[in-house]
Amino acid sequence: MSRGDAMLPVAGNGLLDRRLFLKGGMAGIAALSFGRASAASGARPEWARAPGSPMSGYGGRSPFEAHVQRTAIVSQPGTAGSGASRTPLEHLEGTITPNGLMFERHHSGVPAIDPERHRLMIHGRVQRPLEFSMDVLERYPRVTRLHFLECSGNSGAMAVSPQAPDQSCGALHGLVSACEFTGVPLSVLLDEAGLDAGAAWVVAEGDDSARLVRSVPLAKALDDALVVMYQNGERLRPENGYPIRLFLPGFEGNMSVKWLRRLYVTDQPAMSKDETSRYSDLQPDGSARLFTFSMAVKSVITSPSPGLDLAGPGLYEISGLAWSGSGAIRQVEVSADGGASWAPAHLESPVLPRHLTRFRAPWDWNGGPAMLMSRALDDGGAVQPGRSEWLASHGGRSFYHYNAIQAWAIDEDGRSRNAYA
């Protein structure tokens, strides 16, 4: 592919071939577009005129990055820890969420659990009710997996707000994060307890003061559920479930119970407050769907996005994240003209099931108005719907499991704004 070919649009309003940034094609273009000379002076900046800081026991960020914080932190009135904070997706790259920026959703604050006094209990329809200290769990075989975790309420404002909320990508869609999770397969622990006939559900309970509880289908518990101890290589942070949490790949986040203390094997779901009154999907006819566990195929452009202004016409990389609770991402398409035409985006390897996939597409912005969108397809054939399509099928009275296409309107000043399209 010659550079000349790569600069030919493949879809409307300046979308270029996704291979442009590969095979060195970018190097020459970068020199054309961003080739301003650096300062001519050879004088050393102050940080290079004396030895720097010493080593540290636990590293921190550059003070110049201190503005990158969890965003849209909201708690229920009268409480400080019953609510959510969101991952600032537009300030991150790659697919792994740093532990300090993983989204939070707590129902009664973060408990300060002493691991020496914490136990994991398994009882109910098992042959041997068992409890495990955290020391004992250390001796169990572990596996490591890369997965996203998404709250089923993520992006819910897009379902119920009459006007498109004027918020950042992270504030709108940041109830999703992705990490490397390491823990003991739940199947190993259930096998040790010995399942009785009639076992069909595993009711998982946390050790927070809300004692949050969710019923997990046994098939999921035996398939790929983990009792997680480590996140991104270090022990879970308190807000992520220290010392142990349940993790259910692809399922709505509320079910991956943090601060896990008890697994009650039953023949029926507990019909807990959170799985009936809260995380159920009200339909237009007034009925509600229970147990819509799997998170649907979804994508969002993280750059450009609100707060990340374009500096002027020229070449940019559109970049974003795509994921599906049912499997792996097969394709992401991007549009710069509000969905009139689409171009395939480049998917960065590895593309893993139930993990975030980073997509990229080169874009030659002409300085005029544009409407950027992304549309994901998973390996089960599910396609991300448009917003009106989502509303038609869900009714707009429930905000859970919103996965519609996100549009960012770019104005002539290069500013991005949330838009309904």
């Binding site: 009710p129 692809g250 507990a270 019909m271 009275r397």
Partner: protein, 186 residues
Amino acid sequence: MRSQRPDILALVILMAAAGSPAELRAETGPGLGIPMDSARVSAMNLTVLPDGTGLPPGSGRADTGAEADASCPALAAVRPAGSGGPNDALVGGSGTLATQQPVKTVGSYWPYATTVFDYIRRAMPYQAPGSLSADEVYAVTAYLLYENGIIEAGEIVNARSLPRIRMPNRDGFHNPYQPSMEQPDP
């Protein structure tokens, strides 16, 4: 520790035998769980199932439960939707679920009365969960059911009666979950 080494070796062999070339998956553990006796299980089990399994001895009535209202901020939400406490409304909303402004309360939405007891016992009062006696939990449960017009003021709520209380929206839910919907990892 030395005596455990053959176990660990066996474990490694088992794992290797079970794993596909693409993926080595742990299949078994060292078997170190400590047995729980039934007294310990009962002391730890907070869950009430819809059939009433897990409900403790004790009982309560709405008129005694109403006394808790004065001291519990969460119960301010008993007052009608829009005029009550800071959180989700607990009372009213009947007939609103199919409208543009559905009000989901204990009375209009919750399918099982057992869930009310389960939630109050595990999570309320918000500032001091676990501080209520079983009788008090039954009484506050009765109070919420009474305020929603589901039971009478003097009706006794206990382990026998609670699972038999039919909630107005009991048939309002359907369950689309099928285990076959999950695709296993390749």
